[in-house]
Symmetry: C2
Subunit: 122 residues, 2 copies
């Protein structure tokens, strides 16, 4: 979403980091989990986004670790990042509410011939 708010991948990365620090691959799994499998974050998207978010000060490195013989690079949300995420979330909720409210007034376009609508939503 997002003007010049965040894109959905970025929003979800921040969301994944909201409760605790995670490493890259862990973020991917968490995003998949919180979206019920809907969003499969790409690594190319992830690392590019993390670099930008770190440059903006919304996330920061939380140290590297070697666990089970594998390198893990942890990131965590900063205070600024948490505020940005909260602002973005409330804006999205507001936009979504406006859309749903307005959709109540939607009536399906009348098809070519005079045959009509009636059924739109009511």
């Amino acid at each position: 979403m997002i003007i010049r708010g965040k894109t959905e991948p970025v929003f979800l990365i921040l969301t994944a980091l909201a409760d605790e620090p995670r490493h890259g691959y862990g973020i991917i799994q968490e995003v998949r989990r919180v979206t019920d499998g809907r969003v499969d974050l790409r690594v190319g998207t992830l690392y590019g986004a993390l670099d930008r978010l770190a440059a903006e000060g919304l996330v920061e490195k939380h140290g590297d670790a070697v666990e089970s013989g594998r390198l893990r690079r942890y990131f965590r949300l900063t205070e600024t990042g948490a505020q940005a995420l909260a602002a973005e979330a409330s804006r999205m909720a507001a936009d979504a509410a406006v859309a749903m409210e307005r959709l109540k007034k939607f009536t399906a376009p009348a098809r070519s011939a005079g045959l009509d609508i009636a059924g739109g939503l009511a």
Copy 2:
């Protein structure tokens, strides 16, 4: 939002068309209105997006008109477009709710030098 859901401009265009057909400039004004001036839709964004949305069948032409000596090209939301907007809105509301819920667990990162974490969460 938005994977491969709609971007915010696109989402707001659909929202602006939800209650009744509008012409391009009217969409711009309506978007500004529903976002309390936050989003100023650019014409380059608008016409490109309308072309794509029409190609996808989410909006359709509602006829041209000359009013007050000015040409107006009207667009309206299709049934498919209304469904897409509803789906997108509910997805956004869900994502926003998840983010806000998780933010409750957020604790500010322990600051600065050497002093290690410890307080992070526990």
